[in-house]
């Protein structure tokens, strides 16, 4: 084993780390960059807890080698809020009680972000499909649907600037 230099663009920051070449994006994020908001539940691509966005698309960090995505924009849960301004998805998850233990939540919110960027007004069925790779063991998904629907409403142009706090 030997360490290799690897440069990644994470949440807008360009970071260079030395890491074992077989280490996954998940391990780099958590162990080299201290971004422990990205979770792991299986490290085999089964649970979705490690979902991050790569150029806006949801990707399982546990199955991704950093060498594959050196020029891409990576977004983790730490990059959802902009400064003090929470993403509407975060606000909606809080208000709807969509995070119970919170462990699947980072990956779930990133899947939701990718969905809402592609489809600003998803149906419940479309939401269910979009998050079907993110296992949640607490909520029964109901509150998650409600949160994503609330976030969709908050992100509609007429709501921009006046955040819906229903």
């Amino acid at each position: 084993m030997s360490k290799q230099l690897c440069t990644l663009k994470v949440n807008g920051d360009t970071c260079t780390v030395a890491a074992e070449s077989h280490h996954t994006l998940l391990e780099i994020l958590r162990e080299e960059l201290g971004l422990t908001g990205t979770k792991h539940g299986c490290e085999l691509g089964e649970c979705g807890a490690c979902t991050v966005l790569v150029n806006g698309m949801p990707v399982l960090a546990c199955l991704t080698l950093p060498q594959q995505i050196e020029d891409a924009e990576i977004t983790t849960v730490e990059g959802l809020a902009v400064g003090a301004e929470l993403n509407p998805i975060q606000t909606a998850f809080a208000e709807q009680g969509a995070a119970q233990c919170g462990y699947c939540t980072p990956g779930m919110m990133l899947s939701a972000k990718a969905l809402l960027e592609a489809n600003p007004s998803p149906t419940r069925d479309e939401i269910a499909h979009a998050i079907s790779g993110n296992l949640c063991r607490c909520t029964g998904y109901t509150a998650i649907y409600e949160a994503i629907e609330q976030a969709a409403r908050m992100m509609q142009p007429e709501h921009a600037g006046a955040r819906d706090r229903e």
């Binding site: 971004l35 422990t36 908001g37 539940g41 995070a99 233990c101 939540t105 063991r137 029964g140």
Partner: protein, 797 residues
């Protein structure tokens, strides 16, 4: 709206913001300077003697710092002090595939992983015991020398009321067998611990545990270090469901490795290991004999249960009792007999999963009630309503029932799902089913039988109006921190976000027994309320003087203390706090809670089952069955839950929805299956838990009965909602296709078998066990005692 400014309001949890921004520190998120990484070597044998262990190759591997083995921690441990039969790492013998044998500490995870492959263990294989039936045989090897007969861990026999008279008075007796398969919690966070032995010889353990207090006790026992020198911090659990409420080998191993290396040591289980750590739902074979009048009124119930406990005790003694104890709190049962046996088998230990031991008999009994209703031509809803155990009553086995909302829950679930217009009236392939259930708001007796409080809390107010509540509860996501914050805020008239919650830290917080048995809202809530009201009294004392009004006109809300009749006449909370501190000194109070003594009967075994209050729930399941593929699709679950009072409706609804989801998984998909002694599916790919696409629409209905002893009237919400879901689905399957599936999970294969659609198999109107296979010669007396007695007649024993 109520008089409350906080209680009953839909509020975001105080700790949710850290979860939503990636800041929450779960155990595996902790990285300490010079930290080592540990990994466990696990047994490949189900039952074997350890002949020798050679660690020389592993120790020589570059980067390996230390290795510990079972004999380094030979002290017996386990969650229940009376049945401790485990060691942190196996000593002399292994009893299930996956049992920890050795623990390595290395400079990184890769090295630790390589090192366990370099440990040479010689095993001498023994005959594994894998079934309830084999565990009852006395001609096979014993897992544990202390089993008095065969591989029996515990047998329980209780009888209340006049059974002979009860069965003699019956017009109709049903005698049914059921099997509830095992399944597991599968929290998304795997278990993880970080131990740090500090320079002063004191130990800190951060662990994903539901029970920091019990872990604290076990660490003292196993490590031989006084509890005064150990600090256990329960990190936020990424889901628990009962799966993190035992002390585990990796927790002790991390501590000992840290003690020996004087470096922090982290051990995080991988997903496969979580299936071996298990402590999940016991597989239970059940026989229910129930006598009824033609009206359906119950005259007697004889419940028999056989629990496949796996290799160690865990909570098994309590589980065994729970398969009988709570049967009586839902419907009137004048005579009741219970025989339960828990057996050791060479499989991962079973323990408490959401609904702990009550889920399986509730499944059986609610299906049997459905059968009785069908036999007698009764409507299953009206029938249940006609036999309810009344509020403010005492059951035949001595349990005290206070508030009781099963009737309202049944009505609400039925009304919202139009059960009455659907049941028995839908086309073939579509059906609805109903079931009721109950659960406890915390165990009435502690695991360690003593006179100490079950829950303690501190509240302090600082001069800036900040409020801190400290309590030993563990936050699993169920919202226990928010309960503490809301109860404190309501009592003092501040906002929950003004309350700093310190929980689950054996050094900083007073003991709370832990986040299990759905005890936190009721018990920690009452302790917190007790503490907060003591400070409120001090603030009231200065406020009445300052405002010149009688104390009963004082109101505390919206960060003010004011005259209820003239809300403008008042002072700020900060002013009141400063004045109170000036007069009474530093504002700190303590509160505690212990359940009343009269909630249980007086007999051996009366300690398991009693609770200061029971929650009640009812579920209506609507299903569509594909008659060609056998697939059961749940169209909707309507689940009503009597939680006393919803302190935070968002949290209560979340628990109801989560219970519905988990029950649906147990009903249709989840089974802890084994191929001989190998776990068939120790991964989330093979052990299917419902995804968003598998989860039906869920309607959660909150029923409030305002329990007189609950904090602001509240009872539990965490576990009960799972219980009625599984039998409601089974009853819906019967309504849809006229087939009884008397065992879980209800798979397409079983449906097709029942429908006669499997090649060479005739249709059958029932799938399920027919009895305890008792083909062995000369069964021991306790087996005879449990053996099937002829159906239909009076009970001779």
């Amino acid at each position: 709206m109520s008089d409350f400014s906080v209680i009953g309001h839909r509020l975001p949890k105080v700790n949710t913001w850290d979860h939503l921004t990636g800041r929450a520190k779960y155990a595996d998120d902790i990285f300490l300077p010079r930290m080592l990484y540990g990994r466990l070597l696990r047994s490949p044998h189900a039952h074997a003697r350890i002949v020798s262990i050679d660690i020389s190759r592993a120790l020589a591997h570059p980067g390996v710092i230390d290795i510990v083995l079972g004999p380094d921690m030979p002290e017996l441990m386990g969650i229940m002090p009376s049945t401790q039969d485990e060691t942190a790492l196996a000593v002399g013998k292994v009893r299930y595939v996956g049992e920890p044998v050795a623990a390595v500490a290395a400079v990184d995870e890769d090295t630790a992983f390589e090192a366990i492959g370099l440990i040479d263990v010689e095993y001498e294989a023994l005959t594994p015991i894998l079934t309830i039936q084999d565990a009852l045989r006395d001609d096979l090897p014993k897992l544990h020398a202390h089993s008095k007969e065969a591989n029996v861990f515990k047998d329980v026999h209780l009888e209340f009321g006049d059974m002979a008279a009860g069965f003699a008075a019956a017009d109709h007796v049903r005698d049914d067998w059921f099997f509830y398969d095992g399944n597991t919690h599968a929290p998304i966070e795997t278990h993880s611990s970080v131990a740090s032995w500090d320079g002063d010889g004191k130990l800190t353990l951060w662990s994903a545990t539901q029970v920091p207090h019990y872990l604290h006790r076990e660490l003292e026992k196993v490590l031989g270090v006084p509890r005064a020198h150990i600090r256990v911090i329960a990190t936020p659990n990424g889901g628990g469901f009962g799966g993190k409420s035992d002390p585990f080998g990796h927790e002790f191993a991390a501590c000992l490795l840290s003690k020996r290396t004087r470096r922090p040591v982290k051990i995080t289980l991988d997903r496969e290991e979580v299936f071996y750590a298990h402590r999940g739902r016991h597989p239970v074979l059940m026989r229910m004999r129930t006598g009824v009048k033609t009206t359906g009124q119950i005259t007697a119930v004889h419940a028999q249960t056989w629990l496949d406990g796996g290799a160690y005790a865990s909570y098994g003694i309590a589980t065994t009792y729970y398969t009988g104890a709570l049967m009586t709190v839902t419907y009137q049962i004048p005579a009741y007999k219970f025989d339960g046996v828990r057996l050791y088998t060479n499989k991962p230990p079973c323990g408490p999963k959401r609904g702990h031991g009550t889920t399986q008999p509730r499944y059986a009994f609610e299906i049997q009630l459905d059968k009785i209703a069908a036999d007698l031509g009764l409507d299953p809803l009206a029938y249940r309503q006609s036999i309810l155990q009344p509020a403010g009553s005492r059951t035949v086995n001595g349990l005290r029932v206070t508030s009781m909302g099963l009737g309202q829950a049944l009505d609400a679930a039925a009304a919202s799902s139009s059960f009455g217009t659907k049941h028995g009236k839908l086309p073939r392939g579509k059906g609805v089913g109903i079931a009721g259930s109950a659960y406890m708001s915390g165990a009435g007796l502690p695991i360690y039988w003593n006179d100490l409080p079950h829950s303690g809390a501190h509240v302090k107010i600082d001069r800036g109006g900040g409020v801190t509540v400290s309590c030993g509860t563990a936050e699993l996501g169920q919202g226990s921190d928010m309960v503490l914050a809301m109860v404190t805020a309501e009592a003092l008239g501040v906002r929950p976000e003004d309350v700093h919650v310190v929980s689950g830290d054996t050094t900083l917080t007073p003991v709370d027994l832990g986040s299990y048995s759905s005890r936190v809202t009721f018990m920690a809530g009452n302790a917190t309320k007790d503490a907060a009201l003591k400070l409120r009294a001090l603030l009231a004392d200065v406020a009445t003087a300052k405002l010149g009004i009688p104390g009963d006109r004082l109101a505390f809300a919206h960060r003010r203390v004011f005259d209820r009749d003239q809300p403008d006449h008042g002072m700020t909370f900060v002013e009141a706090a400063v004045a109170a501190e000036a007069k009474h000194g530093t504002l700190v109070s303590v509160g505690s809670y212990k359940p009343p003594a009269d909630i249980r009967g007086k007999f051996k075994g009366a300690g398991v089952g009693p609770s200061p209050a029971y929650s009640y729930q009812a579920c209506v399941a609507e299903v569509t069955i594909d008659l060609e593929t056998g697939e059961v699709k749940i169209d909707k679950l309507t689940l009503a839950h009597d939680c006393g009072r919803a302190l935070n409706p968002v949290s209560v609804e979340g628990q109801i929805e989560g219970g519905a989801y988990m029950g649906a998984g147990e009903a249709l998909m989840e089974e802890q299956g084994f191929r001989a002694w190998m776990h068939k599916k120790p991964s989330l790919l093979d052990y299917k838990i419902p995804t968003s696409l598998d989860t039906p629409p869920i309607e959660a209905i909150v029923i409030e009965t305002i329990d007189a002893e609950g904090p602001y009237g509240a009872k539990e919400a965490g576990e009960g909602p799972l219980n009625p879901v599984v039998p409601a689905i089974a009853n819906a399957v019967y309504d849809a296709i006229g087939v009884r599936i008397d065992e879980t999970p209800i798979t397409p294969e079983k449906i097709l078998r029942a429908l006669g659609k499997l090649p060479g198999r005739a249709a059958t109107n029932r799938i399920g066990p027919d009895g305890l296979e008792t083909a062995q010669p000369d069964p021991k007396p306790f087996i005879r005692k449990l053996e099937a007695t002829p159906a239909g007649g009076g009970d001779s024993d």
